[in-house]
């Protein structure tokens, strides 16, 4: 068995926004603090350190997770995408564009998490994962109507109350309704 160091530091190697990163960090470090304090990726935000606000949402191996509830050292070899990695070069992600055009934020602090979460929503709906409000559990794809988006985005709090804009932006990016 590979025994972790008894000291409090460990080397962590992971891929962030397509780039291999290797860093020695305290074993107590959350993925969020690793990104923000060690890798200089401050796009992911700390709103509660508790998994209750969603501002730290990133994509780990393609799935949206709360980076504050992820222990960095448990993510050896993980593929992490943060808000800084959503655009394709200079071309913004369709969700980024839709967020700007629908005024889906005000102060902007929850926005990186909302965006990463929304990327997760589109992928999950395309896979046909039902939500609490999905009526037809047998359908192949999920139609992202407003109720579905609201439910699926409820892990991301926006105290400015930009929810109507967020829902509109995701609907727009989802192609007007159906993601398959």
């Amino acid at each position: 068995m590979e025994r972790g160091e008894t000291a409090v530091r460990a080397e962590i190697a992971l891929r962030v926004n397509g780039e291999e990163r290797r860093v020695v960090a305290d074993t107590r470090t959350s993925l969020l603090d690793l990104l923000r304090e060690r890798l200089g990726l401050t796009g992911s935000k700390k709103g509660c350190d508790h998994g209750q606000c969603g501002a730290c949402t990133v994509l780990v191996d393609g799935r949206r997770v709360n980076a504050c509830l992820a222990l960095a050292v448990a993510h050896q070899g993980a593929d992490v995408v943060t808000v800084e990695g959503l655009a394709d070069g200079d071309e913004p992600h369709p969700l980024q564009r839709a967020f700007v055009e629908n005024d889906a934020f005000q102060c902007g602090y929850c926005t990186p998490g909302q965006l990463c979460s929304a990327v997760g929503v589109l992928a999950e709906a395309a896979r046909g994962w039902p939500s609490h409000v999905t009526a037809d559990l047998a359908a192949d794809g999920v139609e992202l109507d407003e109720a579905e988006i609201r439910e699926r985005m409820s892990g991301n709090i926006c105290r400015c109350g930009a929810y109507p804009g967020i829902v509109a932006a995701i609907r727009e990016a989802a192609g007007g309704g159906t993601a398959r």
């Binding site: 709103g47 913004p92 005024d103 990186p112 709090i157």
Partner: protein, 687 residues
């Protein structure tokens, strides 16, 4: 014409790309981390702070505590006199701080700091008959606590009821964070604040330094809702002290839990409303008696009764404010302090009066329109409440409102409610500099703050409009105390104050360019609006609005959902239609939380707010916000300021909770007079 256009937020791309740096996110070499140690008693004195174990942790740089901390020059405000005395005035007060190489080490060592106390008994619970109730000298911002005029006369119809609101916490998404950097005897503070210049002045005074040697930077602020106002919160002071002590840049990020004790909140209230009226609903006498709390650390008297001084016509009116000084965290501003809780009470009572008179609540308000401001006697600069009410009633389908407790759809009771809204429209003196840049574009500078309001965008539009150039040629610099003085973002005065100065600076520059015969790089114009503001004509300046809500109450579980809300506002000229809508709707969403889910529960035994995290303090989530919309009248107010705008940051929350509460009454037939209206409180009163 750039003014009013629905321009995208100018910093929008930075925000969606994760490039916008908030306080504490700046890259500074040699930064270390501080964590606050908080008092575990609500009242008493610190006897000793034993930091031996904490200091022994490798990576710990220093521990600060009373008796072992840099001195402050001004300790008159106890809340900000951090580590300057052994006194503990509330649970959660900062009593020590650990500075360490990393956040993990600092947090670990924080647990090892042993603080012993001489504990005195505490009193943390506001009650309507608290023996310590007293009349403050003034209420915020600078008004008399009590007013009274006219003789009480016997009324045909009367309402005499008391409403209760709990403590609410602002909870902006960005927890307060500070990065303090000393360079020689100069301090730079990257701080989440609603006013860089005011913050600089306050900190310079505390530290006993000339203001020129302090700079406060806040390019992006993740919401504030009053909690990042000035005077500063103690965390900013602590960061400066820690950095001075260790001689290195220090980052101090307040945790969400700590925010419940050190970054302010809205006082709980008991508000007694007495209204006497004729049978046709004309108010004869109106009284509003407010009971609130304040901390022993600093007095803050929230002005909840002021709305009753100006809202409706009456022959006699009386308002009072009484406070209980408790061993509680320092309450302060939260979105629309005064107007928000005050209008909940007044507009709920108006609904009760409408019912008692058998008059439609929209009509009742129209009947009580005053001709002049009853408080000052001045004319209103503009007052278009009646239009808001009528337009809203039409758009919302108000005529289909059922009789109370009569509309049932499946397992839901359905009802509609209305409430009026108002908020003062003031402006404060500001300075701005407009300059032709080297490339012929324009730079406009002012120490304004964009805490999510859209100020940066609106000021860009104001400048472009005044200069007569496209917005793409204007760059607005804000969020830095080194820029020309701008007041803080508060009281919905930001855009009026900053915009006025920007307008004057740009007008001046445009004239200068005309005189010079071209936009020569380096041409500039500085404006200061203090003279103009001092000489403003005597008008009562307020925004107005009407809030409508529809609720569905589950008859079995008592769960309440709000399928529709509509706000109609007359708030002066709107500078950017898209961003304005976001502001109005955002305020209404916060009002929805106030009405149904938010409440900070005081733990009587320990003296702190029990539900101090976002798992237990329920702000609305996406699934709670269904059909909320806001519209407004085209309402430039030439008497408000040269831009005709009145401020829109706060009026959206005003009246929202009353509209929902009134709708719950309409749905159930029962009047709930305590917020939030929760399932447990509703259940016993359902059919």
């Amino acid at each position: 014409m750039e003014l009013g256009a629905p321009l995208d937020r100018v910093e929008g791309w930075d925000k969606v790309a994760g490039r916008a740096r908030y306080s504490g996110e700046q890259r500074v070499a040699g930064v270390c981390h501080a964590v606050a140690v908080q008092a575990e008693i609500a009242h008493g004195e610190v006897l000793a702070v034993d930091a031996t174990a904490a200091r022994a942790v490798p990576g710990v740089i220093d521990v600060l505590a009373y008796g072992d901390a840099p001195a402050l020059a001004d300790t008159s405000d106890f809340e900000l006199a951090v580590l300057q005395s052994p006194r503990v005035a509330y649970r959660g007060q900062i009593v020590a701080a650990v500075v360490a190489e990393t956040l993990e080490i600092a947090r670990h060592a924080q647990r090892l700091v042993r603080v012993t106390y001489d504990e005195l008994g505490h009193d943390v619970e506001l009650t309507p008959d608290h023996p310590g109730l007293y009349r403050p000298e003034k209420i915020s911002p600078d008004d008399p606590p009590d007013t009274g005029e006219g003789e009480e006369t016997p009324a045909e119809v009367s309402v005499d009821v008391t409403y209760e609101t709990p403590a609410f916490h602002n909870n902006p998404m960005e927890p307060h964070a500070t990065l303090a950097v000393w360079e020689g005897d100069h301090l730079t503070l990257y701080d989440s604040t609603q006013g860089a210049a005011a913050q600089r002045d306050a900190l310079a005074a505390l530290l006993g330094m000339p203001a020129e040697r302090v700079r406060v930077v806040a390019h992006h602020v993740g919401g504030g809702f009053g909690s990042k106002g000035v005077p500063p919160r103690p965390n900013s002071v602590l960061a400066a002290l820690c950095a001075r002590r260790v001689g290195r840049p220090v980052k101090l990020a307040v945790t969400r839990q700590q925010m419940f004790s050190i970054t302010g909140y809205r006082t709980p209230t008991f508000q007694r409303m007495r209204i006497g009226a004729s049978k046709d609903g004309r108010i004869a006498d109106i009284e509003h008696h407010v009971i609130e709390q304040t901390s022993t650390a600093r007095e803050f008297a929230e002005q909840s009764g002021v709305v009753t001084r100006m809202m409706y016509a009456a022959r006699a009116r009386r308002t009072t404010h009484r406070l209980a000084r408790l061993d509680v965290p320092v309450n302060s501003w939260m979105r629309a302090p005064g107007e928000c809780p005050g209008m909940y009470a007044l507009e709920s009572a108006m609904d009760e009066l409408a019912e008692a008179c058998g008059i439609d609540p929209v009509e009742l308000r129209i009947r009580n329109e005053p001709e002049r401001d009853p408080d000052s006697g001045n004319p209103f600069s503009s007052r278009r409440l009646v239009e808001c009410l009528r337009l809203g009633a039409e758009r919302f389908g108000w005529s289909s409102r059922p009789e109370p407790g009569t509309r049932r759809e499946g397992r839901h009771l359905v009802g509609m409610g209305v409430a009026a809204a108002t908020y003062p429209a003031a402006a404060r003196p500001a300075q701005a500099l407009a300059r032709v840049a080297d490339d012929g574009s324009f730079t406009v500078s002012i120490a304004a703050a964009d805490i999510g309001t859209g100020a940066r965008t609106a000021l860009t539009q104001i400048a472009a409009d005044a200069l007569g150039v496209p917005v793409a040629r204007v760059r607005v610099e804000i969020g830095d105390s080194a820029l020309p003085y701008g007041p803080l973002a508060g009281g919905s005065m930001g855009n009026a104050s900053w915009g006025w100065a920007v307008l004057r600076a740009c007008e001046g520059l445009r004239d200068g360019i005309a005189r010079y015969g071209g936009a020569e790089p380096g041409l500039e114009c500085r404006a200061d609006t203090s003279g103009e503001i001092k000489n403003q004509e005597a008008y009562a300046r307020h925004s107005f609005g009407a809030q409508f809500a529809e609720v569905r109450v589950d008859v079995d579980s008592g769960e309440i959902r709000v399928p529709r809300m509509l706000g109609v506002f007359a708030a002066g000229r709107v500078m950017n239609a898209r961003l304005a809508r976001s502001q109005f709707v955002g305020g209404m969403v916060m009002g929805l939380g106030m009405a149904l889910t938010e409440e900070s529960r005081m733990d009587r035994e320990f003296g702190d707010y029990l539900n101090h995290d976002l798992a237990q303090y329920h702000v609305p989530v996406n699934a709670d916000v269904l059909g909320i919309d806001a519209i407004w009248l085209d309402d430039p107010d030439p008497h408000a300021n040269p831009l005709g705008g009145k401020g829109i940051g706060e009026i959206g929350i005003v009246g929202a909770a009353a509209a929902i509460g009134n709708a719950v009454h309409n749905a159930t037939g029962h009047r709930f007079r305590r917020l939030p209206i929760s399932p447990p409180s509703v259940i016993p009163h359902l059919p």
